[in-house]
């Protein structure tokens, strides 16, 4: 089994070994380059054009960017507000749910996870449309709320911000629940045992040990919910009215209806930048990079 390798051969082997990580990275990098970097550079290019479809010219039209604040401030506000409230609702619903599945699920764990994902077997549009029936003016929910006096006799839920937020929260719940579940699931149970051994009551053990250690899941879940929710437009389209229009609706109509590509591109790019700028301090403040490592 002894093969003698000469120096040049050894050097070539070492060189080849050093190449392996780059070769493994290549497909992913190529993907990112072709489907992220190129489109985004093109998006920036388009965002600085001016003119009327189909004759656009590159003119450093910075004015396109100002439109976000001057013309669409209301929709931006709606987007951030709805996404934020929906994210909070998701967190409040998903944490106990994930906690229950992770700690009390026992042999039902996988079954409960399947149940959580079950709605996703139905197409997105159908799922959201069914909420239209649930929240309809003559429907069960409105009727019940009216009869117990929580809603006035002429109040409706559909085509209000309530139905839009409910739709967003419903559609993104699993994106919140799954990362939290994962971080709770991998939590070393002996840490909780150690906390109670050191005189922590169950609530203190949760506050001091379980919750801080599940923060990576909470942060991942809120990001996975908040980011797509800010850009969402389907829930408004199906469950809201023009009053609830979010920035996604504006971008969609600029791109597909008005064919005003430069403004649509400028809005898209700004939305992306705003989200990134908002989330950097959030991730920093929750200090999860330290825990993930």
């Amino acid at each position: 089994m002894t093969t003698t390798l000469h120096e040049p051969e050894l050097a070539r082997l070492a060189r080849r070994r050093a190449m392996v990580p780059y070769l493994l990275l290549l497909p992913g990098m190529a993907w990112l380059f072709a489907f992220f970097l190129v489109p985004i550079l093109r998006l920036i290019g388009v965002s600085l054009q001016s003119g009327i479809y189909p004759n656009y010219e590159f003119t450093w039209q910075w004015d396109n960017y100002a439109r976000l604040w001057t013309q669409y401030g209301g929709q931006v506000w709606n987007s951030l507000r709805f996404a934020f409230i929906a994210t909070v609702i998701c967190l409040v619903l998903a944490y106990p749910l994930a906690y229950f599945i992770a700690f009390r699920g026992g042999r039902w764990k996988n079954f409960l996870l399947v149940l959580l994902l079950m709605p996703f077997l139905m197409p997105f549009l159908l799922r959201t449309l069914s909420w239209k029936i649930i929240l309809a003016d003559e429907g069960l929910v409105v009727g019940t709320l009216k009869s117990i006096g929580l809603l006035g006799p002429n109040a409706t839920l559909l085509a209000t911000s309530v139905s839009v937020i409910a739709g967003i929260a419903y559609n993104f719940l699993p994106f919140m629940a799954l990362p939290i579940y994962v971080s709770l699931e991998k939590l070393d149970r002996s840490l909780i045992e150690a906390a109670t051994d050191l005189y922590a009551r169950p609530t203190e053990a949760f506050r001091k040990v379980t919750l801080p250690l599940s923060m990576p899941g909470v942060v991942a879940g809120t990001l996975l919910t908040f980011i797509p929710a800010v850009g969402d437009y389907v829930n408004v389209l199906l469950l809201g009215s023009p009053n609830e229009f979010m920035i996604g609706n504006v971008i969609q109509s600029r791109f597909l209806n008005v064919l005003d590509y430069p403004v649509a591109a400028a809005l898209s790019f700004t939305l992306m930048a705003v989200i990134v700028l908002m989330l950097i301090p959030y991730v920093r403040a929750t200090g999860t990079d330290d825990l993930v490592a």
Binding site: L191, A194, A195, D197, L198, Y199, E204, K208, L213
Partner: protein, 339 residues
């Protein structure tokens, strides 16, 4: 282990079942193991005379050093150590003082602001110990505390643990599967088998007189032989007669068929011709195998009608070779009877 004659830990007919599995079966003693503190299926547990049966963990003055250490990864070493005192609402100045003191006790004063994952295994072990000791528990449970350390570090920590135990004077209940560790460290050992205590006593008592085949095999090595008693003599199948001390003979109490044992290091080789110096209990055989162990050599001697007998001799003189015919002999007081 006792204060004013009251045992630190007292178990009174305690049984603990996990479903079908019986971890502890009708156990009564005055020092014990982890699982029966967790809400026993039946029986009573007393700490320093106080009934603690069924008390929630956060209400009893017992702290644990976990096998995996279970250090809180999101807290610094000092915060880990302070955890118990903070839960008991001790004031900050006092916590600071005691954390400093305890870290000094485990020789980690310099690492208070480090995170657990920045420490070595041995250091993490000491943090786990400090985190439990700082609360001055009435009893400290150590659940296989040295299991994750390598041999050299384990030896160091054994000595370290013993020093700390003597310094703080708290009862340590140390659960281990390492017999050597148990013998080095304990004042008193309870050997458990199938949830029952097979033997309770000091390391030397248990080693010299194990009383059951399980204990004889678990703590150190033993040569066990079946025989028939008459008076102080045990007749072996090959016709040899082994003498017992009066004390051991009394333990046969009427049984005729008994099992006797002797530790390998109690056996020595003698020439074919016996003299007055040769101890009374003798077997003749042929050396089947010799393994050199550095300070000693372990021989397996094939004795017709009995089987293989292990002999451990210090390497002082001649090392015998396989095939050599030998007489192995030992003193009556080194013979023990097992039930």
């Amino acid at each position: 282990m006792t204060e004013n004659g009251i045992p630190a830990v007292e178990l009174d007919h305690v049984t603990k079942q996990f479903g079908e599995f019986t971890a502890v079966d009708d156990l009564s003693l005055s020092i014990g193991e982890n699982t029966f503190f967790e809400d026993p299926t039946s029986g009573t547990i007393r700490l320093h005379g106080d009934d603690v049966t069924g008390l929630k963990p956060y209400r009893r003055a017992v702290n644990t050093v976990f096998q995996s250490y279970a250090l809180f990864p999101h807290m610094t070493v000092a915060e880990n150590v302070a955890f118990g005192l903070r839960r008991q609402k001790v004031d900050d100045a006092e916590i600071k003082r005691r954390v400093g003191e305890t870290l000094e006790l485990v020789q980690l004063s310099a690492r208070g602001s480090a995170k657990p994952k920045q420490l070595s295994g041995g250091q993490q072990q000491r943090v786990a110990l400090a985190r439990a000791l700082i609360n001055h528990p009435r009893v400290l449970l150590l659940d296989e505390p040295l299991g994750a350390l390598d041999l050299k570090l384990r030896k160091e920590m054994q000595i370290e643990l013993k020093r700390i135990q003597q310094e703080v004077g708290i009862t340590f209940i140390h659960v281990t599967h390492d017999q050597e560790e148990a013998m080095t460290m304990a004042d008193s050992i309870a050997v458990m088998n199938h949830g029952r205590i097979e033997r309770l006593g000091s390391p030397s008592e248990i080693y010299e007189d194990p009383r059951t085949p399980f204990v004889a095999g678990f703590l150190g090595a033993s040569n066990l032989m079946h025989g028939t008693v008459s008076g102080n003599d045990v007749g072996l199948p090959n016709g040899a007669v082994i003498r017992l001390t009066d004390h051991q003979a009394a333990r046969c109490n009427g049984h005729r068929e008994v099992q006797i044992g002797v530790r390998p290091e109690k056996l020595s080789f003698y020439g074919r011709g016996t003299s007055e110096n040769t101890p009374a209990n003798r077997l003749t055989g042929v050396i089947a195998d010799a393994s050199f162990l550095g300070t000693s050599t372990q021989y397996l001697v094939e004795v017709p009608g009995i089987g293989q007998v292990a002999v451990v001799e210090q390497n002082l003189g001649e090392i015998h070779a396989p095939g050599e015919e030998v007489v192995v002999a030992w003193k009556p007081e080194h013979t023990f009877v097992v039930e």
